[in-house]
Assembly symmetry: D2
Homo-oligomer: 466 residues x 4
């Protein structure tokens, strides 16, 4: 269950060639809000200039005013929702970043994490470049500005050839929109069409909301350039084995999205079915930790033939800050979001389905909450393998030390969370469920096998680099 | 499904005798947020003075600042969340209302709707009283202020003897807290205990969050007076047949709450089971309109032996205002909140479970959305009888003219919403499911049988009276 | 000199029968800003309803937005600028106050101070009235609401018959504007005409700004009722000896205003001339304490034949709060507003002219500042008699204990402020300069002879009564 | 008179080595507020990092909160008040500008205007530099960042060797403060001492407020480097003829300041005396256009032996925006700030003294206002020569076309402003009064003799270059 850690990563959206570009970008960001709740922004272009509106806050709040769209004219726009992975959470670090340079104006929106950004920044500063933000993303713009090539495409290719790490990028200039996905394809990115307008979005649910047609996913290593003359595709990088992030399926993407060739909801249900096959138990009811655990719990319940129930009710009105009373209320953190339904749980043998265990503290509170509500047995099932290694490609996991499974056996974790039994989905089961026989996913968080090497200093502790 | 109409009614919470009274009231209101998202407020007492903080907005936003609690000192407090049923939505109409009068200060929080408020107001103004707000609630304070009795209890009894309608009330003075529920008991109100402190709340879920013990429901017609010497109970009104609101079970209360002697989640599941018995259909999957339709859909699915699936995903990040693009996007209103999962629905015969149909427009959009996502058949089942009459006791229903079932047959409604079949839970089935053999509920919205007569001008159209 | 104590009292302005009523009221208030910088407000009427905009802050800030005027429609309006004399400085205490009562809506704006307000309030509350503010002004509205008379004029006359103290009042209803001045005529109030529209203002400078023609002063005890049919004048009170406030001439009113039959600038110059005749001294230059001391200094210099110079430069960019450094800077308070011109003062025998000495601390700082800048002698001359008694009629003077002249001889004051000599204008000289042979002024602050008796509790200390 | 054009130019202040550095900088800026009311900011250093607070608004508003100073720690600080001469008025253009570059952090505050900034910017951008603001000042930082020298002093000397135009600069790094004045010395800059702390300010009035001792003016072409080891002075530029701005004396500087070796008030009085000698007239009273015309009017009156009076009263509560009524009020613009005293002017032959005539429209309104108030004759005297040429060194004058004296004879101007006579101070008289026999002032605005050549595109119209 995700709690208190606002959803990590970022979401990006762009549209080219539509008279309501900024308004549709706002709707697209709204559909991608689960990918970042801390800040958001839109840059639009009317063919001559770029226009910006960015702020800390949720999409519906930041853009909750008709006048804003009057100040975002034009037929193309890109937008960004973010939860910081690098850079402080201050206004100047809100994306898209827009700069003026010798060739005009350019804006950029980035989902991912660059591993060699500090190295490049040092080099540029030694020459005399002055950086405006503390975001890794800004180095791409400086590489663009100092490139000796004359066309925008060549400058972008030049810049992307220098950076390493995870990225889905959207660039907007006065007259073009460019989308790029890193050669490993860590993060999802898809292409759609709305009438004559081209649309690019992190997840297909953003296309659905604006009723754009899903065209295809943008491929790992692909650069798509969109101008008034149409769309061209480029593959400047050496082809390598892709490594899409399996955690997008486990809990990050929205269940109604279609990413990496699959529907997320169906994959999650299959995780639940497979989990049941691996860790079946005799019980009275199966309950999810809402909302992310629901599909896996449905899969588990159907496979097990045990009734599915909502034994924990989630309160969705959670604000950004929460003032707790000073007297100790047990399990307070979890109680703000979840409340057990005593009448459902009382006297029952309960299987609780969650998508992952990070530090173990939340799971421990949930088990106690379910038991206090009268459950006679509490069996915890996790729809992914133990998460033992931090992510350096855009998911905001804690350091290894804080990941309970990096230093504890499953039995030790079971004891800590006070469950009667505990079962994780196996790595093989996970891949089988997702239909990935031949391993095309990044599973570094389970195995420690990182597809891209990174500077030693990034390893432990995972610091903000800039 | 509720959409765009922010949840109606109000929620109230009070605590007496706890050093963190205001902070716990804030948590209680937070748990009652579903009862009103427009505005909220807290009044606390330190034994000498009353302190107020009120504002438009959600609880977590209005009280998202530790300093506020420094300005709400004392060991007792009452709070209110509201969606206006009478009175404009301006700051001076946010509750609790606090006034100074000849006997000191008093604050009041009200859930319900008075039917003779305008009549009393006219009478008081003719004498020379000046009203500060446009809320029906304020007449109670003026009746208190002009009462000739000397004790607070007697003044309250005097004032309550004059008013007619639905009310759960909390009063706070420098030294006392008083709770009152109208003789029909339209709205729920319960009593709890947290250590030595007394707690009163609209629903038991608010007790759960602060880990207070549930003691009992406050009875229809009961007045509970709490002082430092303890709690006394009064029944000054003539005993009449109670008429709790059945719609609290249908969709208004939180599923984890215990009200009118039952757990809401279990009652809703039973509505679903009974609905299946009355309107069984051969289908492939049962899907709820989330979130309120989930328990009934689970009941229906279990009774029918058809798999339960999440075919519609709800976006919870909805803000107060939403800027729509001007070009027509079909079913846009619903799309902001719901997105279909194509892979779940494609080629399936689908039963869609919702709790009620108001105007029919939302149901129509949902049916089209499900069908466009590939469903081969769409069968709509409603877990309550047709709603043909407006509510005058605190639920913000539209006028009769707008209620589709007041002027259309079920077959006409089915055609309008373009469903393959449509079935409503019968009134008998509803009462049977809730275990109310001998009719103790207000079912005016189904039958037009109003327990309290009201001035003719209230009837049609339902105007803001003040 | 006035320093840190924002200008006291209030200013009022009203206009009836002009299509830009609210905008002209804003300009009128702007011209009266010197009478109150803490808060301001306007209520307008379009013949059917009253519209309000009020806030803490300066006129140009509170109304610095064209949209506000769109929300203040109609052809009549009244406005108010205030520095609180009674009532806390919170938003609900900002005037005009507008209420709804049995006869419709009414707004009121008040300049002055009622001495029997608490007594009347107690009486009304005992019956059951509930007050909304802590301002003395509100009792007038309650007296109006409870009056048994049926016409507005009679209700107003009824209410004014009950109150005692200093008041200039403006009332606005949907269709009328009423102006009233208390029988003593403590505060100024004048009548003007702009085309067909009637204008009422505290001082004539407000008429000048909007280019309205000055018609006459409203007389002590007069009530002027303005309707679409024209203006009628009423004198319902028993005629008594008027007692206009001499301090309006000394420093409160603007020098370009015409009040109580005289131009303020000319009167102040005559105070300076007379002061010279009474306390001539051999010196090199005469300097004012700006801005209020300038006219008297010019008069003194002309009478004395000594050059007038600006030896102290005033900084006008003073904000509402000022964050002082913690290290002691000598005379810091005065330095924020005044800086000496060393080259003007060096080696000179200087006469410093100020309008009054309140606590003596400011004068002491000024004398030291002038001497530190190189003056060889510093002679202080005050253009009014010693202020030994507090004002209860609308000027915010400190308590008697704090008034230095209530407990010190002139020689003691001279020593305290470290001047080489000190001279006050005599009471006779003051009256002679203003041309008031037969005493028609209130001089209570000099003599303690209060024209209206007041409750003992008001006397010392001067508390906020409500 | 200055009206509606907020005071132009900028003011700078810095202090090194004082525990309350930020608070004293705030006071210094407050004393310099007349040099720029649009925006202000402070950067402080605690020896390790730089801290920033900047905003649109007046000093007392932007820094009106004690907490701000807690976020500006350290013993050195620089500050800036601005009215934009180049660059849009948006937040990112508020100074001081602070950047991080390869050598750490550096902040800069600038008073003046660079004439070759666009040229240098183009060159840097061609290489790949990305600019953050649209201010000419930013090029200095980029020149610093790209300099090949290793010491800060050498980098600054290197950068200043590239730029041309008017500048007084303050730099702050973690450990140093550097002040620089351009070789012509267009703008004033002085050095002071407060205990052991060094202070630098645009005008001496800022030293007075914090009670710092005036040490000396910083010389044209001088660079002063202040570290914990003390102060060193550098003169890297070739010595040239200085050209301080005569308009600082005419109206820009505060009368209590000492700049370019003189007290401003005394110089202005001497302008008035000389003006009288050149354009004596028989009249009854001399009145200034307040506030800037007061000293010259006093000088004129004393020299002429005619009484000085305040015939125009200035309202100081002017806000940033002013909502005018739509109906035409004659001379409205001037009326907001000035109101005539009818009793002073009636029947009099009046000499009106102002410091300059720009477009002529304001003077025309003032003459009409004085005449309408009853003056029998209105003679205008201007305490500077006709302003026929725009300034490119930091004073925000309009283009030549708008300067009335660039295209009209004095007699034509007299007719336009409807004065009975008009006299300007001669250029010779001006220089004589200021004691500048041998021409060391920039008088380009009178003569068109610009000390520094500038790109043709700057000439007409005077565009925002960036």
């Amino acid at each position: 269950m995700k709690l208190y850690r606002p959803t990590e990563e970022c979401g990006i959206f762009g549209i080219y060639g539509h008279p309501e570009a900024a308004n549709l970008t706002y709707l697209g960001l709204y559909a991608l809000q689960h990918r970042g709740q801390e800040a958001c922004g839109i840059v639009s272009s009317d063919g001559r200039s770029l226009y910006t509106h960015r702020s800390m806050g949720l999409v519906a709040d930041v853009f909750g005013n008709q006048e804003i769209f009057g100040n975002l004219p034009g037929e193309s726009a890109i937008g960004h929702v973010r939860y910081s992975t690098t850079g402080d959470s201050v206004l100047k670090n809100v994306q898209p970043i827009k700069v003026d340079y010798s060739r005009g104006s350019i804006a950029i929106a980035h989902n991912g994490n660059l591993v060699n950004a500090q190295y490049i920044k040092d080099e540029l500063e030694a020459w005399g470049s002055i950086f405006q933000t503390t975001m890794d993303t800004e180095v791409i713009l400086h590489l663009l500005a100092t490139s000796k090539h004359s066309s925008l495409e060549d400058r972008i290719i030049d810049a992307l050839g220098r950076i390493k790490g995870a990225y889905c990028l959207l660039f907007l200039t006065e007259t073009r929109m460019v989308a790029a996905r890193d050669p490993h394809g860590f993060r999802p990115l898809c292409l759609g069409k709305l009438g004559d307008a081209w649309v690019v979005a992190s997840e297909s649910c953003a296309l659905d909301l604006i009723e754009a047609e899903f065209v295809r996913e943008i491929e790992p290593g692909e650069i798509v350039v969109i101008t008034k003359d149409g769309l061209t595709s480029h593959f400047p990088h050496k082809k390598i084995e892709p490594a899409p992030c399996i955690f997008e399926f486990v809990y990050f993407a929205r269940p109604d999205s279609y990413i990496f060739g699959k529907n997320v909801y169906q994959v999650r249900k299959d995780f639940g079915r497979q989990l049941c096959r691996e860790h079946r138990i005799d019980a009275d009811i199966v309950i999810p930790v809402p909302d992310s655990g629901v599909p896996a719990a449905l899969g588990y319940a159907q496979e097990a033939g045990i009734p599915f129930e909502l034994g924990l009710i989630r309160n969705h009105y959670v604000g950004r800050t929460f003032i707790e009373p000073q007297q100790s209320i047990r399990h307070f953190g979890v109680k703000i979001k979840l409340n057990p339904v005593r009448e459902v749980l009382k006297g029952k043998r309960v299987v609780v389905i969650d998508d992952s265990i990070v530090r173990g503290t939340t799971s421990r509170k949930i088990v106690k909450m379910v038991r206090n509500a009268g459950a006679s047995e509490v069996h915890v099932r996790i729809s992914s393998p133990p998460t033992s290694y931090p992510c350096y490609y855009g998911i905001d996991t804690p350091t290894r030390k804080e990941l309970i499974s990096s230093s504890h056996t499953i039995e030790e974790i079971r004891k800590y969370i006070t469950a009667d039994s505990l079962g994780y989905l196996s790595e093989e089961g996970l891949l089988q469920a997702v239909g990935a026989g031949s391993n095309p996913f990044c599973k570094a968080c389970f195995s420690g096998g990182y597809p891209i090497t990174f500077p030693r200093l990034m390893a432990e502790p995972q610091l903000d680099l800039f």
